[in-house]
Every structure is written in C-alpha cells, then in structure tokens.
C-alpha cells in the first residue's frame, strides 16, 4: 500500500491522543485546572489533529459528514461515530476537570471506553480487509490498542505502567511482523487463483494492461526493499520501545532529569511508532498487485 503521510499521521497521532484520553478518563492522572488544561489540550490536539489529517486523503472532504451514516456495516463509519462520541464525552469530562475542578467519573469511564473503541474501530478498518493479508489478522487490533495505551501511558506520565506497556507493545510489534511476513503466503491467494489459470501451469504476468501508471498501482503497489525493511524495523523497535524503556528505567535522580528523560521517551516513542506505521502501510501487500505481477 502507498504509505500516504495522511494516514500515517492520522493513525499515529490519533492513537496517542485517544490513548491519553483513555488514561485521563480513568483518572490517571486525575488532574484539574491548568495542569488538566495542558493534558487535555495535548490529548485533543493529537486526536483531532489525527482525524483532520485523515480527511486530507479524501477526494471530496466537504462531504465527510456523510461518513457517520453507515455504522451498521462500515468500520469507517463506526470509527467516525466513536471518535466524535469520545471527543464529546471527554470534552464534557475535561470541562469539569479544567474549569469546575470536578471529575464526573461516569463520563470519564464512558469516555475512556469510547476512546479505546475509537482506536479499535480504526484498527478494524484495516483488519477487516481480506485483500491485505498482512492486516487481516487478530494481531492488528491488538497492536493498535497496545500502541495507543503505551503512548497514552507515556504521555500521562504513568511511571509504573509505562515500562510494562512498552515491553508488551514491543513484543506485540515483533509478533505482528513475524506473523505478517507469513500472512500473504498463508492466505492461499496467488496469481494462480487470481487468474484462475493456476492449474494449467505456472502463471506469470506478461504485458501490463497499460504501460502508463494508474490509481491502483499508485495506491496499492508499493515495493520496499528487504534491506530497507530490516533497517526500518530496527529503527521502529529501538526508537519506539527499547530506548523509551531505557529512558524510563534509568536510575536518575532529580525532577528535571526525570522529566527530561520522560519527554525524550515520548518523542522517541512517537518517532518509532511513525516508522512502524510507515512499514504497516508500505509493507502491506494488496492482492490486486498479483494481477500486475507484483506483491
């Protein structure tokens, strides 16, 4: 798949934003006033910014409101609804925390659940696609959720939880790659089933339908060199999980040093997740590539 910056930014930032909202909704930390304002601004900034970024890839963004109508069948529609609901509920909750110094915990818990649901529905947009075996696995939502919670924990300054989440998310990432690398072959779809000619002999794509390019090739066929992949994976796992973990467990003294390290951990983590997301898209082979002799 084409690793469009809009979807990479969207999934990375909104994952962080809703992760942080989840923690805030659960009262970790149960902040109020100006401190709360900063936390919520960060959370809403990531979540809304991500959502806005996602509209950049729309052909007709002015009609985006229509996307809320098909919740019965469409994960994209469900995501939209969950996101708006989460933002509204958490907005109210935040209002109480920032301006009234009050926590309406019921709202907070519902908001946290909706935030997680948003991340889940986002992941299901990808997971549901049988056309992309690397996404069409239970590990995909697990990865999205653990990443979101990890980011949330880091941003929320959940010192005790964050190292555990980092370790778990890193493990999920490794598992996702291991499993994902087998997924296309395991799907049973190949150029033989794509053309129906597989039982006649070995099938090879000859002339493409057009020598010129097209939407399908631009959107779905993205070839990444194996060396490049290994390099990026190393970067993603190191920046996203290993280094932040080290930052957190380094035995340093002093408020400033701790906070600086925590801030560094957040930045490293974001960079790592972005790299992971780039790979998530760039490495995802769509079965339509088979018709063009590509994977």
């Amino acid at each position: 798949m084409h690793p469009a910056p809009s979807v990479i930014i969207f999934t990375t930032l909104s994952g962080l934003g809703f992760g942080l909202l989840t923690f805030l909704g659960l009262g970790k930390p149960a902040v109020t006033g100006w401190v709360a304002f900063v936390f919520y601004a960060l959370a809403f900034g990531f979540a809304v910014g991500g959502l806005l970024a996602s509209t950049f890839h729309l052909g007709r963004p002015e009609r985006a409101w229509r996307a809320f109508t098909q919740w019965k069948t469409s994960w994209l529609s469900r995501e939209g609804i969950c996101a708006v609901a989460a933002l509204l509920i958490m907005g109210l909750f935040a209002f109480g925390a920032v301006f009234l110094d009050t926590h309406w915990w019921i709202l907070g818990w519902i908001g946290a659940a909706l935030s997680l649901a948003t991340v889940f529905t986002t992941s299901m947009i990808y997971t549901q696609l049988k056309t992309i075996p690397r996404w069409n696995m239970p590990l995909t939502p697990v990865m999205f959720l653990t990443f979101s919670l990890t980011g949330g924990a880091l941003l929320a300054g959940a010192e005790a939880l964050a190292p555990w989440f980092l370790a778990i998310a890193g493990a999920v990432q490794l598992a996702y790659w291991a499993k994902g690398d087998q997924a296309f072959a395991a799907s049973g779809t190949d150029i033989g089933t794509a053309t129906g000619l597989g039982d006649r002999g070995s099938v090879r794509a000859f002339e493409p339908p057009h020598t010129g390019s097209n939407y399908l090739l631009r959107e779905f066929v993205h070839e990444v060199g194996r060396k490049h992949v290994m390099k990026l994976r190393a970067i993603a796992i190191t920046l996203g999980f290993a280094l932040p973990l080290i930052c957190l467990i380094l035995p340093v003294e002093g408020f400033m040093a701790k906070h600086l390290l925590a801030g560094l951990a957040v930045l490293l983590h974001i960079a790592g997740v972005a790299a992971s997301r780039w790979l998530f898209f760039a490495q995802a082979e769509h079965v339509v590539g088979l018709y063009y002799g590509k994977r």
Binding site: G59, R60, K72, T73, T131, L197, R200, P209, L216, E219
Partner: protein
Amino acid sequence: MTQLPTHTDRKMGLVIDLDTCVGCHACVISCKGWNTENYGAPLSDQNAYGSDPSGTFLNRVHSYEVQPSPCSSQPDPAAQLVHFPKSCLHCEDAPCVTVCPTGASYKRVEDGIVLVNEDHCIGCGLCAWSCPYGARELDQAAGVMKKCTLCVDRIYNENLPEVDRVPSCVRTCPAGARHFGDLGDPDSDVSKLVAERGGMDLMPELGTKPVNKYLPPRPKDQIDDQIDVLAPLLTPVAEEPKGFLGWLDKALDKLPGHSEGGSN
C-alpha cells in the same frame, strides 16, 4: 445504503471467454468513451500528452504467460499467452459495498449491479482497498470513485434500439469474447455457456462470490499427440516418383467422367 440486499431479482453480469479474447483492448476504449460521456463524472486523464500519462479506466486487459509443466506426452510444452480483461465482477458478497462509510456504494436489488452514487461519495478509497480485483479507481479530477456500471444507462435505455441494450464493451468486442446476461437464471444463454465451458470465479477463496464468470482457455498444443491416430492418413501412395504417377493414373480413373482413356 451499504447493507447488501438479502437477494437480488436477477444477477446481471458478464461472461468473458479467455479462449477467444485476442487482447485487442476494444472493450477498454469503448468503455472509456461511453463512460466518459455518460454516467457520472467523465473518466479523466492526467498528463495526457506528457510523461507518465495516467487516467481512469473501468476495464483493463491484462496478459499472462502460462508455462505448463512437462509431462510424458509433452516433454517440452510451449508457453501459452492468455489475454485477460478485468472489470467489476458485481460480486454477490461485495466487500466494497459494506465498507463504504457514506452509503454511496450499493448493490441494486433488481439486477445486482454494484454502483457508486457519486453525489454521496467522499472519495475515501476504502472500497477500492476492499476490492481484490482492482475494479475501482478514484478519479483524480472528480475525486470520486469510478467503477463499471455494467452500462446501467445502456441496458435499459429506451433511447437505444433493443439490440444495443448491452454494455458497450459487449457491443464492441470484435471477437465476441464478452457475453452479457442473467447469471441467476440457469436457463439463460450465459448460464448455459458457464455450465458447458466450466466457467470459473476469480479468487474464490476470498468469498466475494463474483457474478461475472471467466471461461477458461481450451486445452492447447495437443496436435502432436494426434499423429498416432492420424498417421494412416499420411501413408505414402508410392515411394518412388514413378510409382506416384502410376497411383495418379489409377486415381484419375476413379474420378467421375474419367473412366476411359489414359495418359499419353
């Protein structure tokens, strides 16, 4: 409405004969012409006269080489070339419909045609992501998803003579490799053709249940195997030229009106 209808009255679709398609691209351009001028936004082209020209097409013809495995009767089989037109298969279980967040994508109850309501499409591209066949292309000028309409604006069009109420690709196909009809009716010509020729689905494992069927190429390059049966036909009438003239004389005598006389 992106729920799929529980059933459709008919299953209109195409049957594409891979044994006959010569790969001429007639269907590709006829489709481009009709659908540029008709249903919805025109099929646009980018860099039309420059480097890397690219445009929206609803039907494209691929080609594949098939290399059969050697066997005892054919130790060195020749590779085969198969031309392969591909457009929307109007699946019964069309994933492109259910993923649509706006309801722009839908499958018609009366004939099973999968369409995009371009006024509602936001151009998110998810339907194209969900389609295994590459049937949908996002038009770069209009920002909406384009796909084969099975020429829904031809097949019932009362402004066209009845004989022309078929998709434009079918009307134009010089080799007659494209057939149109109701694949839900077992007695229709297309259904019979599918039954006779072993019509097949593309990527059946994905469970999309395509309505369009492909007729596989007939077995090829079998003539060498025939020679044992046909060898008697080639028994020489004589080994020497003289003997040949003797045979000729007798053979000519057997022709009507040649019973008398002989060569000088």
